[in-house]
Amino acid sequence: MEVNKKPKFEVNNLNLFYGDFQALKNINMNISSNEITAFIGPSGCGKSTFLKTINRMNDLVPGVRIDGSIKLDGLDIYSDIDVIKLRQRVGMVFQQPNPFPMSIYDNVAYGPRIHGIKKKSVLDEIVEKSLRQAAIWDEVKDRLKRNAIGVSGGQQQRICIARALAVQPEVILMDEPTSALDPISTQKIEDLAVELKKDYTIIMVTHNMQQASRISDKTAFFLSGEVIEFGETGQIFSNPRDKKTENYITGRFG
């Protein structure tokens, strides 16, 4: 239906090695804007590694080597885009909620501040807007000066999402954002993700197949560093083309 839409990311023949170990094998994938793309697969299949490659967080791992290319709006993220600019455009939400040990306000204002915004009124505006977008404004508006470590895990995760949004990214990577949360918080994050895809491109790693089928538009199934199958979520879950995908989603392994 959207065949002609230009992809946000084009991944071509991507291989990634940790020393001698090949963690990603020949990945080819186009990721569309304003959609939720889910990566599923058993532990150690490379889905998180791939996610972290998209905003070059893997650069931090010693001994990592990459060949092939990832293009963001046609520009190679390793050669054409400065890594700092890339991470501004491609934000990340981590598996464990990781707010900084500072106030809620300072957490959300952190990104804008390091990118040079100093004016209080502008920061106030960004903080409020981001917290509203992350659907947590009403819960924390009266305690913005309180330490972000003191709120519940689900609230922490939404503060982290607000913190990522405050940098005004185009893409949000979510690495199992609900795996440490209770079902109600999970529901909130899922609703939020669906809401956010209107304005952002969302790529989400999840262990939870129901989650992938509930909220994602496209799903990629990873196994042993390879993408076994990538397509419309409905098709992957109702009519997988590959036997391995079927075995995984029906719970035969993983």
Binding site: R87, Q88, F94, F100, P101, I114, V167
Partner: protein, 318 residues
């Protein structure tokens, strides 16, 4: 011990085979006694420290309070506010020494803490492994050098250098003390700061980098604030070390018998060196006044320790 005594009649060789299982279940008296003895030894060892500190406090305070009591009591006010120390004239004023101790410690902290913290950042966050292998042992060796050698270094290198630029006639000065003390507190600052920086969870760094912060921004905006309580503890320990240092300071301070320090070029006489210089030959009132100096020093150290305990317990709550 009492409850073990009742079982002493049980002798292993007096039972026959069928009783062996029962015998196994019986309390092992010999083992219980050994355990008690060992526990007592532990207790005694622990008491050595507690008794020593009590004895030192009692002794120093007992001797140090004497000159201010009785018939020919010396005025505490004159003692604490005086700026001249002349035992032969029965004048004992230590205010200029308190000032010297505070100034030299403050100076050492002002110079040593930034250098130490930045070294710790360098070792834990920036330096390639090869360089860490050079810097870290160098700092550790610094910790093991006896203070008399720091004094010799100060006298042989720092003082002559100061001689070249000082408006005064001598190189022994507050500045020399500050420089040498700064170096002496470095190992404490570096090793404690480094371990608290390393203890900052990786997830904070990832979050910051993921928002597009640079490495240096991440260090200053996230890592150091998160390591703040450890760095503060390091600073307080550094204060303790600087204020208590004697030997190295004595060799480079100049130790005048009177006069407030007027600039960093002035000679100074910190509390510690006052005690060390005269204690070996002093007697009577002079000796007691040296103990009184010790009491003042002790109060400073106690303040430092209380601060440290407060800081570390606060950090524990977080």
């Amino acid at each position: 011990m009492d409850n073990n005594m009742g079982h002493n009649e049980v002798k292993p060789d007096s039972v026959n085979e069928t009783d062996i299982s029962i015998q196994y279940m019986k309390r092992n008296v010999k083992r219980d006694i050994t355990e008690k003895i060992v526990e007592t030894i532990f207790l005694l060892c622990a008491l050595v420290g507690v008794l020593s500190v009590t004895a030192i406090i009692f002794f120093v305070f007992y001797k140090g309070i004497r000159p201010f009591t009785g018939e020919d009591a010396y005025s505490i006010k004159d003692f604490l506010t005086g700026t001249k120390w002349a035992p032969s004239e029965n004048i004992y004023g230590i205010f200029y020494m308190i000032t010297a101790s505070v100034l030299s410690t403050a100076g050492a902290i002002l110079v040593g803490v930034p250098i130490g913290v930045l070294t710790a950042v360098f070792i834990s966050e920036i330096a390639p492994e090869g360089l860490v292998k050079i810097v870290k042992p160098a700092i550790e060796i610094l910790a093991g050098i006896p203070s008399v050698l720091y004094g010799a270094f100060g006298l042989g290198v720092v003082v002559p250098l100061i001689m070249k630029i000082t408006p005064e006639v001598q190189g022994q000065s507050l500045l020399a003390v500050i420089i040498v003390l700064s170096i002496m507190i470095l190992p404490t600052i570096v090793s404690l700061s480094e371990s608290s920086i390393r203890a900052v969870p990786k997830k904070y760094r990832e979050a910051s980098l993921g928002l597009g912060a640079s490495k240096i921004q991440t260090i200053f905006q996230v890592v150091l604030p998160a390591a703040k309580s450890g760095i503060l503890s390091a600073t307080v320990l550094g204060i303790g070390r600087a204020i208590g240092e004697t030997m190295a300071v004595m060799m480079i301070a100049g130790n005048p018998t009177a006069g407030m320090p007027e600039s960093i070029w002035s000679m100074v006489r910190p509390l510690t060196t006052n005690i060390a210089m005269e204690m070996s030959y002093a007697s009577g009132r002079q000796s007691e006044m040296l103990f009184a100096t010790g009491v003042v020093l002790f109060i400073f150290i106690m303040l430092v320790n209380i601060t440290l305990i407060k800081l570390t317990s606060k950090a524990g709550e977080k």
